[in-house]
């Protein structure tokens, strides 16, 4: 099961068990259509009907706003932005409304919604591929989830739908999988087994996906897979990297990262988000505050540069953190 199918499976299970779950988005339920930008909702309107799989106008502000209102009225909406970049059309509803209503009501209303954002550079240029996690981690009241595997995607999405808070759920386009023309050409092959059962992965957890004693590498989404590739190269050089998949940025399990850093004494953060003010900067600050005395090298970040995302393959390669950059930075840190 690829990630797109795993996400679809999660929504199907959630909708079967809970009649208050509904989906909103552009092109997500059209009969004979393509199930959203990346087939994630394909077929769900056949099972649940167009009342629960709602094809909206191109109105991001209304999509998120309606999700906020529906959540306040007792539904559990899952809203899709066709591309994560389009959420900026709805930022008032995300930041001023969804994130704040529980607090502004002094805990009297809940806003249990999921906002699904397909992200990641995929040769579509500056407005169809940004990774913008930090914009949301900086807004109190939002949970931020960013899975790297189909297994995690399903379990985290089920947990997100059942969470009583607004959850911004990032999905990397190159991890969706899929078939034929609907498969991204640069797609990463993920052979994970995904159980058909209902299971949840608690929000606020990270996953140690490779153990090692020489350097801790924290990454999310596509970067987890690049870090794993880098770890193989580093292992050949005698450097054992511990890779932590930071699959949930808010709430953040900093304790597991701290424990790993205490063991390895080195921290490298890999993110497709921009360098300045990225979530990696926050992790660096937290580890500096909590574990500076354990460090044998400065904390380093491999991130996207502070430029808009370019389109051409050659430029995108220069923009998105590569296996080579991860390897060379880790080598410098462990020399």
């Amino acid at each position: 099961m690829g990630m797109a199918e795993a996400l679809r499976d999660a929504m199907r299970i959630a909708m079967r068990k809970d009649p208050t779950v509904l989906l909103l988005g552009e092109d997500i339920g059209v009969s004979g259509g393509f199930g959203g930008g990346f087939t994630v909702t394909l077929g769900l309107s056949d099972e649940f009907g167009h009342d629960r799989v709602i094809d909206t106008p191109i109105s991001e502000s209304a999509i998120v706003g309606a999700a906020v209102g529906a959540a306040m009225a007792g539904s559990r909406p899952v809203a899709e932005m066709q591309y994560g970049d389009f959420v900026f059309c709805a930022m008032d509803q995300v930041v001023n409304q969804a994130a704040k209503m529980h607090y502004m009501s002094n805990g009297q209303v809940r806003v249990p919604l999921v906002l699904r954002l397909p992200v990641g550079a995929s040769q579509r240029g500056a407005q169809h591929g940004q990774c913008t996690e930090a914009m949301f981690t900086h807004t109190p009241g939002l949970k931020v989830v960013c899975p790297a595997t189909p297994y995690d995607a399903k379990g985290l999405l089920l947990a997100s739908i059942r969470d009583d808070n607004p959850v911004v759920f990032f999905e990397h386009k190159l991890l969706y999988g899929g078939k034929g023309t609907r498969k991204e050409s640069a797609s990463v092959s993920l052979g994970a087994d995904v159980p058909v059962e209902d299971y949840e992965i608690p929000l606020g957890t990270v996953a140690v996906v490779r153990e090692g004693g020489d350097i801790t590498v924290v990454a999310n989404m596509l970067m987890v897979h690049r870090a794993l590739s880098a770890a193989e190269i580093l292992a050949a050089e005698g450097i054992e990297a511990e890779i932590i998949d930071i699959r949930c940025l808010v709430p953040l399990d900093i304790a597991t990262i701290e424990q790993s850093v205490q063991k390895t004494s080195r921290l490298l953060i890999v993110e497709e988000d921009h360098l300045t003010g990225g979530w990696g900067a926050e992790i660096a600050a937290l580890i500096a505050e909590r574990a500076l005395n354990y460090l044998d090298a400065p904390i380093r970040r491999v991130a996207a540069p502070d430029t808009p995302l370019p389109c051409a393959a050659a430029l995108e390669r220069a923009f998105v953190p590569s296996v080579e950059r991860i390897v060379s930075t880790a080598m410098q840190m462990t020399r």
């Binding site: 208050t20 509904l22 009342d51 629960r52 709602i54 909206t56 106008p57 109105s59 991001e60 502000s61 209304a62 999509i63 998120v64 706003g65 309606a66 999700a67 906020v68 209102g69 529906a70 959540a71 306040m72 009225a73 007792g74 539904s75 909406p77 008032d92 509803q93 001023n96 409304q97 209503m101 529980h102 607090y103 502004m104 009501s105 002094n106 805990g107 009297q108 209303v109 809940r110 806003v111 249990p112 109190p140 009241g141 949970k143 009583d164 808070n165």
Partner: protein, 469 residues
């Protein structure tokens, strides 16, 4: 010249429109605005008016026959005896309802009686203008029966509306006086002058209907029945405030009466109320959501997106635009080219009505009809009420941008004085009784302020509470 009479697009879901009856006989003269015939759609029964004066010459679709919007159902001529020209000829000009927008908004403004009530009145040759609605809704069958039996309409509803409007006015004025003495913390956006809209709309709602208010929320909240003590304590930033001091004057709520946290981002509650209504519908509930906003909100994207989504979803939501002519200090003529904001409803295939927001009975009649439509699953409505904000946009705004003459003309239409006179003259309620109501409101207000002042401040720890559920 021959003019064809066409079935207008009534904003129904499509399909047949049934001719119920013609109110004009062939050969009879009509003036512009006179009802020609009555139709029934899957959504409502509506009277179709003539848009020009002339003579009805041919009825082409009779009672009980079905036609589609755009079909020619009759022919008119300018004079009583001229020759009728082939209606299919290019020169023929339609006289009834060519454009959905025009026809709908014109029909709507007359729609203050239920179809059954109208039918009954017609059977008895009773002019609906002589029928008073007993409660906060459109004229119902019982009102027609009461009128036929010569019974007076109960004044209870109007007295309750008077009390609620007085409470709002006196509360806002009390706050203003305290503000002038430097005793009110934070900001202040007041609604003196706009009380009839809040009360007329909210008195037509059920307790479990939800309202979404704005940065100017006091009227809406009190009209919906919110706790005076809790909102006063909130304005003073106290722990006993309706949202524990986290909200302040612009973010008032009382969830026990369906008053959600009022929203200080202009227009933001429009999609939110829409989504709330969509959830009601999906959950099989007959609850209604109401979004209040000002004329300024009609120019923000959320207005367009929210109204359009509500329309295509047939969401049970009523959009209430309080057109007080000013977005903060900017006059509507500077920002908006059309004269009736309700006309924008047509762009979404929605019904839109403009009415006098200084007349609580008119507000209520229109709102009740829209709320009833929403509750029956017939979709959203945009209501525009013309009203006036007596005080500034917010604290410290002396309104230097408004002409004295304009202010005087609106003050002369004061919604509370209007009800006072009506209660006194039409219902025999004495000045003394009205004065008692005012004194009771004043005492309630002073007690609320005392409650707020005596309440404790929130603890510092509570700053960190309720970020997440």
């Amino acid at each position: 010249m021959t003019h064809s009479i066409i079935i207008p697009d009534l904003g129904a879901t499509g399909g047949d429109v049934k001719i119920v009856e013609w109110l004009v006989r062939e050969g009879q003269h009509v003036d512009a605005g006179d009802t020609l015939f009555v139709v029934e759609t899957d959504k409502a029964t509506e009277e179709i008016p003539a848009f020009r004066a002339g003579y009805l010459r041919r009825v082409l679709a009779h009672a009980d026959e079905e036609r589609l919007p755009g079909d020619v159902v009759g022919l008119m001529t300018d004079t009583s005896d001229e020759a009728i020209v082939d209606p299919t000829a290019a020169s023929v000009e339609p006289v009834a309802a060519v454009a959905a927008t025009t026809s709908v908004s014109r029909v709507v403004r007359r729609l203050t009686a239920s179809p059954r009530a109208r039918h009954l009145a017609r059977q008895h040759n009773l002019d609906l203008a002589n029928v008073k609605a007993a409660s906060a809704s459109a004229i119902q069958v019982r009102d027609v029966v009461a009128a036929l039996e010569g019974q007076p309409v109960a004044a209870d509803w109007l007295i309750a509306a008077f009390r609620r409007m007085v409470l709002i006015r006196r509360y806002e004025e009390h706050l203003y006086q305290l503000f002038l003495q430097g005793l009110v913390p934070g900001t202040l956006h007041q609604c003196q002058g706009q009380e009839a809209v809040a009360v007329g709309v909210c008195s037509s709602l059920r307790r479990d209907d939800m309202i979404f208010s704005t940065h100017r929320p006091v009227g809406h909240l009190l009209a919906k029945g919110a706790s005076l003590n809790a909102i006063t304590a909130e304005i003073w930033g106290k722990a006993t405030g309706c949202v524990g001091g986290k909200g302040g004057q612009m973010h008032l709520a009382d969830f026990s009466v369906g008053a959600m946290v009022s929203n200080a981002i202009v227009g933001a509650n429009i999609p939110i109320a829409t989504g709330c209504a969509m959830a009601f519908k999906l959950q099989g509930l007959d609850r209604v959501a109401v979004s209040f906003f000002g004329d300024g909100a009609c120019n923000i994207g959320a207005f367009h997106e929210g109204l359009n989504l509500a329309a295509v979803q047939d969401a049970p939501v009523v959009f209430v635009c309080e057109n007080n002519l000013y977005a903060a200090s900017t006059h509507i003529s500077v920002t908006t080219r059309i004269s009736n904001l309700a006309d924008r409803a047509a762009a979404y295939g929605m019904r839109g009505y403009t009415a006098d927001g200084m007349d609580v009975e008119a507000v209520s009649a229109l709102a009740a009809a829209a709320i009833e439509r929403a509750r029956l699953g017939k979709g959203p409505t945009l209501l525009e009420y013309r009203t006036y904000r007596y005080r500034g946009h917010s604290r410290g705004d002396p309104c230097g941008y408004r002409a004295d003459e304009e202010q005087r003309s609106w003050l002369a239409r004061d919604p509370i004085e209007r009800v006072r006179i009506r209660l006194n003259q039409d219902f025999g309620v004495t000045e003394e009784n009205l004065g008692t109501i005012e004194q009771e409101c004043q005492r309630e207000i002073e007690a609320a302020v005392e409650f707020a002042l005596a309440s404790p401040e929130p603890t510092a720890e509570s700053c960190l509470e309720h970020v997440f559920a």
